[in-house]
Amino acid sequence: MRIDPANRTAQLQYRAAGNPPSTQPDSAISNCYPGLEFDFRNIWRRMFEGIEMHEADNYVLKGIGEYQRLERHRLLLVADAPTVVALSGPQTPGGPSGPLTSQGNPDGVWTMEWSNAMAAVLRDKAGKTVTGHFTKDPSQKPAGIPTDSSGKPDLSKLLAVELNVRPLFGSSAETGEPLAVIDQERVQPGELTQSLCSPWQNDYRECACYYWAASRPDYVNVEVAATGTSAGNSWLAIHREPKQYVLDDRNDTRLVSYEDLFQDWQGRLKFIVGGDDHD
């Protein structure tokens, strides 16, 4: 029996033979961080011909030919659209709000998620040339956009390079018709699934934002005092006494390690019911 999707909605709902339901975009549990089914960030790695970006950063991993000089530089502006945003907030609880700079992030910036930040560039400039502004030098640390005295981007301090924007969707080699598939020049086979979350292994411990993988406890056996202070354990604490929350620095031997979890998660972890340990 042959059933070919003919129109756009049918094409978008298409599931290749053998693919599980989770390959449908509408079933995905994804966000700007890697998802379970595919890591959508990979579609941005080869947005521009000749250079390859880190999937989660504005950092140039690889340049081909004349673009080789851009390797390890950071791309800060694309057709005037910024790829980073300045961070501000209190450095200490209750403290005043200010630039969130640090040793590792001296300019206090965060790389924006490209599915939003580059959406307009893709819409308006696919198949066209845009000007990209890079740091003049290689930059291992995140870099901010230099500004002039009026607060506008100071382009003289950046390296301007013309870039060709690849379209998101491929087209038919025979008719030139756009196809409802992502262009292979952008994402090569295997790349969409090469950097997924591993929520029941590494990421079960790794994710500290109580979101992903979300369905695990964090602060357990909590007792709240009349003054409003509390005492309890980290879910990873090997010993439940003394009752204190051990901050996870990935090295503290009072906490279950990655290796412990990989090798004996069922022996190491306890059932937590109603917020407390249960055997």
């Binding site: 999707p5 003919a6 129109n7 756009r8 079933s27 018709e177």
Partner: protein, 447 residues
Amino acid sequence: MRAAELFDLSAPRSAEGHLVETGEGSLLLVPDGSRVYDVDAETAAVLDRALRGAGDGEITELLRSLGLEAPRYVDDAPPMAPPVRALSLAVAQKCNLGCTYCYAQQGSFGGPAMQMPDETALAAVDLLFGDVAGGERVNLAFLGGEPLLNRATIHAATERALALAAERDVTVGFSITTNGTQLTTDDADFFEAHGFAVTVSLDGVGAANDALRPFRSGRGSFETVLARVSPLLERQRRMQVSARVTVTPRNLELRTTLDEFVALGFHSVGFSPLLRSPTGSDEMEHPELEVMLGGMIDCGEEFERRLVAGERYPFANVVNALREIHRGTHRPYPCGAGAGYLGVSAEGELAACHRFVGDEEGALGDLAGGVDRARQARWLEDRHVHRQEPCRGCWARYMCGGGCHHEVIRRGRPACDYIRGWLHYCLGAYGRLLARRPDYFTGVPSA
């Protein structure tokens, strides 16, 4: 293909699927999501048997087994407080023609003749831009009555809209629907400068038009309109000048009309059956709708021939239908009326659309107080196609959306066979053209 045959082929059998033989094979329409699949003969036979005999539950199960199951595209929930993105201003609730079938009852909607004051029009434009964000698009339409009887207000509103659009980085589209008798060369310049979509109401060539669209004196209007619209037809670059034909039992010569109007240089030509007139006169009944469907298919088949030959033949109904079928447009309403689109009366009342001006049934607030969100919520809930009968069991429900609210509320649904027959034909044309002119669907052709 004859219209009577199409009535039969397109009859509602299942709400979950519809099969069309195209001549190039078989297409399956899955209404939810308006998904169209090209299926081989073996699959088509299985589907055909099921669609004729099985219940909707069994058909859903069959679709699932064929891998066509999908999450529901259209649910029961109406949109909540949709933002206003299109307004039509009844700038002149009066008209110099005396068309007997006019929903606006010769322009005044059954009340005294009125002009919209500039300040009302400007307040309407302010409402249109009230909560719009940069990069969005809005549309401002001028209707009546005959809108060009109040040209100054059209200019004032257009200028305000242009200023606000520039200020807010918003794209604004303008349109006007006119009887054409008042058009001037200055209008041509103005509409061209601002890229208006100009729709001229014309019901046929010569006497056919004149019988339906006479001046108040009884004299025919065709020659006047032709003389006045010609400069626009010659000048159109940014503006698009289209003809809209209201089809009644007295002007069923569709193909002749289409060919004449295309030859005159209209950007596009569209037909719409008269399903409801305030007096009941000239309304289309089933036998006339059958004749009309025959004419529409005649025009459609000519469109297919011309397209395959690489010629332009701007038959709007088929162009729009093919675009929507290719996109998979699916909607629980026939149009944006009462949602993102509202009509504004000369006195500043908001209505569900231009047809509901002065009509309590579609009243949705006023410019002073804004959109009456409680009434709007009721309207959107009541008008949802899932609440309409016999729509819920019809395969065409998400393409048709349940039919024009004004016609349905005032008359009912006398044209379902016609609408389904036409959509069945268009699905067939889609299948044929997908095979014969795949490049036509490269990108989605714009309106």
